[in-house]
Symmetry: C2
Subunit: 146 residues, 2 copies
Amino acid sequence: MTAIPTTIDVRNCHLVPVRGASDPRGTVNFLEVGREVGFEVRRVFYIHGVPAGHARGRHGHRKLELLLLALSGGCDVVVDDGRRRHTLRLERPDLGLYVGPWVWHELVDFAAGTVVLALASAAYDEADYIRDEATFRREVASRFDG
Amino acid sequence: MTAIPTTIDVRNCHLVPVRGASDPRGTVNFLEVGREVGFEVRRVFYIHGVPAGHARGRHGHRKLELLLLALSGGCDVVVDDGRRRHTLRLERPDLGLYVGPWVWHELVDFAAGTVVLALASAAYDEADYIRDEATFRREVASRFDG
């Protein structure tokens, strides 16, 4: 068995192995707060029915922490901390992606039938979103490269 | 638009409408603790790859609260409080099922590709499970019919 690399060379991002159990009745995967999830879960959302060629995300957060999981199908996730950019395929129910604050993230190349689950550390707050990429790069540069 | 009935004639069970937004990029549904979710989320699990003819669940809990959601596909959920038994089809990402303590629940008749998400109020604790139906009926009868 090969160990799954969990580090990504992008600030505030890492992969999260998810425990599971399979038997003739199917598979269950499970995460617990304080173990796989390093924050209190205040919001849960799921993205589905994304047509081919469309993207989700395309923003950064000032405070929010996210754990993204492809429960069905898969998509590419682009994460960018303002200095480094990395693309990975999210397509295993047993491997999530933690995306912390100050990370621009885009979800693209959705396979048909994809369901992406997100666990989030706070209730929805539009003021926490940075939706303009130039603004994101400016804020990140002043915060981390100062 | 028809209002969705949210009550079920089984103790400690009710349906939970889930907010969402759809546009040409697909659909997102979202739940927040303190709104759709009436408990702290301490554990998240998801069931997938259940072959036709197999069942999940088939137990009750003494304390655990659950919110079940079919993110893809669908299954029947049987809920039984020891007096009343109800079966409903869980197959809409925008309609969850709350299952509180002292409810025997079984998930059956899974469609191919079904993913059921569960939000749970506590970490895993085998002592909280009642896996024998006769024991469940005896404990429930002494607790609620005494």
